[in-house]
C-alpha cells in the first residue's frame, strides 16, 4: 500500500517508528495532488510552503502530530483565503483561526489545502461552486455529492489523509457516501462553530471525512468540546471517541425506520444497505423496525428554516468591509444590489429570496413558526425511537452519484438528494456515513453509503457500531482508479 493511501492511524505509526517523516508524507501528498487534482478539482487553494514549515516542526507524539488535514473552504484559517466557493469572498483572507483549526493545530495536525464546495454550502453536488466543479474520483463524469464535495473527493482520491467539512442537511454524509469514505456529522453543540462561515446556524456542524471510522474518532477527539466563543457549543463531557472501538455488538439494537425503506430509493442502494443490515445481524445486533412519522416533512421544514437563517447570515456580505465590491454604483442601494448581484450565484440568490420571504411580516407564522413546530415533532420522533434502539440504520442517499449537469436545472429534485440526512440536522443528533458496497452503473462501480444515526452526544457509541461493521468488511479498502 502506498504512503498516500494510509489511514491516519497507520501514518502515525510510520511517523512514530521514524519510517516516514511528516515532511515525506506531505511531499507524497503534494505529488499526488499535482498528479490527479487536475481531474478531480477537489482543491481550490493550498499553501504548500506554509504546510511544509509546519511539517518540519511537527511533533509526531501529539494526537494528530504531523498529519495534514484538508479544510473545507468555509472554515477560517488565519492568513488563508476562505471563499466559501463564492465570488463575493474572492480576495478575502481570514484574520483569525476557527476554533476547530486552533484545536487541530494544538493536536499537531497541519491544516493543508482549501477544498471546493457548493457556494456557501448550498447544494448537494458541488456544482454550485463559483470556481470549479469537483469530480467524483470513481467516475469523473459524475458529481462527488455536496456541499462538502471537495472534502470527500480528496479523501477518496488519496489527495488527503482526512479533511474537515460541514453538514447542514447532509453535506458531510451524502458526499462521503457518494465518494466511498467515512463522514461524520457530530451532534449539534458537540463542535464549536466559531470560525465556520454560517449557512444555517441552528443546523450547521463541522465534522471529519476520513478513510476509516477510527480516523474520524481521532479527529473528533481533537475538535470537540465546549467553546466560550460559541454559545451553542455545549458543555458536555468529551469522552475518548476511540475508547469503545472494537467492542462487539451484543445487545445493540438497531432501528430500521420503515419510512426510509420505500420505493424511490435506487434498487442497488437499497440492496447494499439491506445486505449491511444482514451483516449487522450476523455481528450480533438486533434489528428492530421503527417509525419516524414526521420525517416526510423534513425536507420542507429544512428549506424554510435553513433559508430563513441563511438570508440573515448572508446579509453581511455587502462589499462594505471585505470581499467583492461592485465597481459601478452611484449610491448605497445600488452598491448593495450590484455587489450582491455580481457576487452571489443563482442557488444562493434563490435561497436568500426564499428565506427573506418566509420571514416576511404576514408569512412568518405560516412558514417559519410552523416549521419550528414541525421540527419539534421530528425531534420527538427520534427521541421516541431512541427509547427502543441504540442507533438507527438506513441509506445515506437514495441513489449513487449522478452525472454532472443532470440535476442543475431541477432544484427540487436536487433537494431530494438529502432526504435521508436532513432530519438528523433538524433533530440535532449525530450521524455517520460509511461505505457499504457499490452500485454498478454504466460499467463503473459507484460507492453506496450506509447511514447510522445516534442519540444526541452518543458519538462514541455511534462510532463503535460503525467500526464493528467496517472491520467486518473490506469496502473501506477499495480505491478508485483515477485517470
Amino acid at each position: 500500500m502506498s504512503l498516500i493511501s494510509l489511514s491516519i492511524s497507520e501514518l502515525q505509526a510510520q511517523f512514530r517508528s521514524k519510517a516516514v517523516s511528516p515532511v515525506e508524507a506531505l511531499e507524497a501528498l503534494e505529488a499526488r495532488i499535482q498528479a490527479v487534482d487536475g481531474e478531480i478539482a477537489g482543491y481550490l487553494n493550498r499553501d504548500y510552503a506554509a504546510a511544509l514549515k509546519a511539517a518540519q516542526n511537527a511533533d509526531v507524539n501529539l494526537p494528530l502530530g504531523g498529519v495534514p488535514i484538508a479544510i473545507k473552504d468555509l472554515i477560517n484559517v488565519k492568513g488563508e483565503s476562505c471563499t466559501c466557493a463564492s465570488k463575493i469572498l474572492q480576495g478575502y483572507r481570514a484574520p483569525y483561526d476557527a476554533t476547530v483549526i486552533t484545536r487541530l493545530k494544538a493536536a499537531g495536525a497541519i491544516p493543508f489545502g482549501r477544498t471546493n464546495m457548493d457556494e456557501f454550502a448550498m447544494g448537494s453536488s458541488t456544482e454550485n461552486s463559483a470556481f470549479a466543479i469537483t469530480r467524483n474520483p470513481w467516475d469523473t463524469d459524475r458529481i462527488p455529492g455536496g456541499s462538502s464535495g471537495g472534502s470527500a473527493a480528496v479523501v477518496a482520491a488519496d489527495e488527503a489523509f482526512a479533511s474537515l467539512g460541514s453538514d447542514t442537511g447532509g453535506s458531510i454524509r451524502q458526499p462521503a457516501a457518494l465518494c466511498g469514505c467515512v463522514g461524520l456529522k457530530p451532534s449539534y453543540g458537540r463542535v464549536s462553530r466559531f470560525g465556520l462561515v454560517a449557512f444555517a446556524s441552528s443546523l450547521d456542524q463541522i465534522g471529519p471525512f476520513s478513510k476509516t471510522v477510527r480516523d474520524s474518532a481521532l479527529i473528533l477527539n481533537a475538535i470537540s468540546g465546549h467553546d466560550p466563543m460559541d454559545s451553542t457549543c455545549l458543555n458536555e463531557p468529551v469522552p475518548d471517541f476511540t475508547a469503545k472501538l472494537g467492542r462487539d455488538l451484543k445487545g445493540v439494537r438497531l432501528g430500521m425506520p420503515k419510512e426510509y425503506f420505500v420505493s424511490g430509493t435506487d434498487p442497488q442502494v437499497d440492496q447494499a444497505v439491506r445486505a449491511a443490515i444482514k451483516q449487522y445481524e450476523s455481528l450480533g445486533a438486533e434489528i428492530v423496525e421503527i417509525s419516524l412519522p414526521h420525517t416526510q416533512h423534513a425536507v420542507a421544514v429544512y428549506y424554510i428554516i435553513a433559508t430563513a437563517e441563511a438570508s440573515a447570515n448572508l446579509a453581511r456580505f455587502d462589499g462594505v468591509r471585505y470581499g467583492h465590491r461592485t465597481a459601478e454604483a452611484s449610491n448605497i442601494l445600488e452598491h448593495y444590489g450590484r455587489t450582491r448581484e455580481e457576487g452571489f450565484g443563482p442557488e444562493v440568490k434563490r435561497r436568500i429570496i426564499l428565506g427573506t420571504y418566509v420571514l416576511s411580516s404576514g408569512y412568518y407564522d405560516a412558514y417559519y413558526l410552523r416549521a419550528q413546530k414541525v421540527r419539534t415533532l421530528i425531534r420527538q420522533d427520534f427521541a421516541r425511537a431512541f427509547e427502543k434502539v441504540d442507533a438507527i440504520i438506513c441509506p445515506t442517499s437514495p441513489e449513487a452519484a449522478f452525472k454532472v449537469g443532470d440535476r442543475s436545472e431541477d432544484p427540487l429534485r436536487m433537494y431530494l438528494a438529502d432526504i435521508f440526512t436532513i432530519a438528523v440536522n433538524l433533530a440535532g443528533i449525530c450521524g455517520i456515513s460509511l461505505p457499504c458496497g457499490f452500485a454498478q452503473v454504466e460499467g463503473k462501480p459507484l460507492p453506496v453509503g450506509l447511514q447510522l444515526i445516534g442519540k444526541p452526544f452518543a458519538e462514541a457509541e455511534l462510532l463503535q457500531i460503525a467500526h464493528a461493521y467496517e472491520q467486518s468488511t473490506n469496502w473501506h479498502k477499495a480505491r478508485p482508479v483515477i485517470g
Binding site: A200, P228, Y368
Partner: protein, 484 residues
C-alpha cells in the same frame, strides 16, 4: 380654533457602562482612534459568533428593578434586519417579543421639571408608565466627507438599553421631567452616565395631536436628533405649534420622521413612512434564550436608594426643607457630599444651607465638580460648628470658607492663622460698648426715644472697635443692658 390634546411617547437609548461590548470582548471606550476597538465579531467577519455580555444583562435587570418593571423568567434575542453600512452584519441583535423588562414606570417630581414651570406644574408627581426595556447592540458611527464616508466600528456592538415609554406624556415639560428623572435614576444605579450631549442617552420622540373630544389618536410623527434634554422640550414645543397650525388650516398630517435642528429651532422632514418597515425579526440561533431568575437575584442587592426615597429621607432625617432635599438629592455626588458633612453635624440644616449657597456658587464660579471640591465634607461640618458655637461670626465664616475653598485647609487652621477667634469675653466687650456709647450720643438718644434699630449702628461700632472679633450676639446683649 380648536384645542388639541397632545400625546407623547419616548424611546430612550442608553449606553451602558460595561467594560466590554455586548457580544465580544472589545473594550467600550469612547474617543479612541477609529477602528481600534474591533474584532471579527463586532466587524461582522465571516464565521464570527456573538457571546452574551452578562454585565449588560445585569445592568438592564437592575434598571428594570429600579423602575419597578416585571422581569419575565426568560428573555431572548432576535435578529432585526436592515441594510446600512454602519451595521456590520446588516442585522442588529435586539429583543423583539421577549424583552428583559416589561412595564414599570418613571416617577416625575417637581424639581425634574424645567425651572420656569416648577412652581406651576399641576401634577408634579405623575408616574409615566413604561412599555418595556430591552437590550441590543449599537451600530457603528458614520462620518461623511466630501466624496466619501468613513465608518468607525469602535461603537459597533456596544451595549444599548432601549427604554420605551407608554404614550402617556402630555407636554414638552413632562417629557423634560421624564428624561431628567430617568437620567437621575440611571446615574443612581451606576448603569450609565446618561449624558445626552455625549450620546450616552439618545431620545426619539413620538408625538401626535388630536382635537379635544376625539378618542382616536392623531397621526404619529417621530422626531429625532435632539442632543439635550432642553432640546427635546423645544423640539416638542415646536412640533405642537407646527402641527396645531397645520390642523387648524385643515391639513392632513402624514406619518413621518422629522429631524430637529437645534440651531434654527425647527424640525424638518426626513422621510415619510409609507408603511411599517419589515424588519423580519426571528430568534437569533447563535444565542440561547436567557433565564433571568439568577440575574435578578444577583442584582437585587445592588438596587440603590432611589431619588424619591432619598429626598424624603433628607427631609425627615436632617430636617431640611422639601425643596432643599430635592436639590441635594438631584445630584448623587452632591447628595453623598451632604450626607458625609451632615453625618455628625449638630445642625444638618445649616450644613445644607452652606452647601446650597456658598459651596454651590463657589463650585459653579470655578467650574469645579462636587467630586473635585477642595473642601472636604468633614471640614465644612467643622466650619458650620464653629459658627454655630459663636467662635467666629457668620461674616468671618464666609472669609474662612473662601480660604478653605482656595487652599483646602481645615477651618481651625485658618482661624488660628488669621487670628479670627471671636471675642466673647464679657469684660472686654463691656469696655468696647462703653466706648461706643460715649462716642455716639446721637444714636443713643435715638434708641432711647424708641428707634430700636439704632442699636445695630452701635453694635457695628463695637465690631469696628474690636476689628470684627467681638461676638456680635454678646455685644448686642451688653448694649441692650447698658441702654436699658
Amino acid at each position: 380654533m380648536k384645542n388639541y390634546l397632545v400625546t407623547i411617547g419616548l424611546e430612550v437609548h442608553v449606553q451602558l457602562k460595561t467594560r466590554s461590548k455586548m457580544f465580544c470582548g472589545c473594550p467600550v471606550e469612547f474617543g479612541a482612534q477609529p477602528n481600534t476597538h474591533t474584532c471579527p465579531v463586532c466587524l461582522g467577519m465571516p464565521g464570527a459568533l456573538p457571546v452574551m455580555n452578562h454585565q449588560a444583562l445585569k445592568m438592564t435587570a437592575l434598571t428594570g428593578l429600579m423602575l419597578g418593571c416585571t422581569i419575565p423568567p426568560v428573555c431572548k434575542f432576535d435578529r432585526k434586519h436592515y441594510f446600512y453600512p454602519d451595521m456590520p452584519k446588516n442585522y442588529q441583535i435586539s429583543q423583539y417579543d421577549l424583552p428583559l423588562c416589561l412595564g414599570g414606570g418613571v416617577p416625575l417630581h417637581q424639581l425634574a421639571f424645567p425651572k420656569d414651570v416648577q412652581k406651576t406644574v399641576a401634577n408634579p408627581d405623575k408616574v409615566i408608565p413604561l412599555t418595556r426595556i430591552h437590550l441590543e447592540e449599537d451600530v457603528a458611527k458614520s462620518t461623511h466627507f466630501d466624496a466619501s464616508s468613513g465608518i468607525d466600528f469602535n461603537r459597533a456592538g456596544t451595549p444599548l438599553m432601549e427604554i420605551v415609554s407608554d404614550p402617556e406624556i402630555s407636554s414638552p415639560e413632562e417629557a423634560f421631567a421624564y428624561l431628567t428623572s430617568l437620567k437621575q435614576i440611571l446615574i443612581y444605579g451606576n448603569v450609565s452616565d446618561a449624558d445626552m450631549e455625549k450620546g450616552q442617552m439618545r431620545c426619539d420622540c413620538n408625538i401626535s395631536l388630536r382635537p379635544e373630544g376625539q378618542t382616536e389618536l392623531g397621526t404619529k410623527i417621530e422626531i429625532k436628533n435632539m442632543n439635550t434634554i432642553s432640546g427635546v422640550r423645544r423640539a416638542l414645543a415646536y412640533e405642537i405649534e407646527r402641527q396645531t397650525a397645520c390642523l387648524d388650516r385643515g391639513e392632513k398630517l402624514l406619518q413621518e420622521t422629522r429631524r430637529w435642528d437645534d440651531a434654527s429651532g425647527q424640525t424638518s422632514l426626513m422621510r415619510v413612512k409609507e408603511s411599517e418597515a419589515d424588519y423580519r425579526y426571528f430568534p437569533d440561533p447563535d444565542l440561547l434564550p436567557v433565564k433571568t431568575e439568577a440575574i435578578v437575584a444577583e442584582v437585587r442587592p445592588f438596587v440603590p436608594e432611589l431619588p424619591a426615597t432619598k429626598r424624603a429621607r433628607f427631609a425627615s432625617q436632617y430636617g431640611v426643607s422639601a425643596y432643599d432635599a430635592g436639590v441635594l438629592a438631584n445630584d448623587l455626588p452632591l447628595a453623598s457630599y451632604f450626607e458625609k458633612a451632615a453625618a455628625n453635624a449638630r445642625n444638618p440644616k445649616n450644613v445644607a444651607n452652606w452647601i446650597l449657597n456658598e459651596l454651590l456658587s463657589s463650585l459653579s464660579n470655578t467650574e469645579t465638580g462636587i467630586e473635585a471640591c477642595p473642601i472636604s465634607p468633614e471640614h465644612l461640618d467643622e466650619l458650620v460648628n464653629v459658627i454655630d458655637e459663636g467662635k467666629i461670626s457668620g461674616k468671618q465664616g464666609k472669609e474662612v470658607f473662601a480660604e478653605m475653598f482656595a487652599t483646602g485647609k481645615a477651618p481651625g487652621v485658618i482661624i488660628e492663622e488669621k487670628g479670627l477667634k471671636q471675642e466673647s469675653d464679657l469684660g472686654a466687650i463691656e469696655a468696647l460698648c462703653d466706648q461706643a456709647i460715649a462716642a455716639n450720643p446721637k444714636a443713643v438718644a435715638e434708641y432711647k426715644s424708641g428707634k430700636l434699630a439704632s442699636i445695630n449702628f452701635l453694635k457695628g461700632q463695637v465690631m469696628k472697635l474690636s476689628q470684627g472679633k467681638a461676638n456680635p450676639a454678646v455685644a448686642g446683649e451688653v448694649l441692650a443692658k447698658k441702654l436699658a
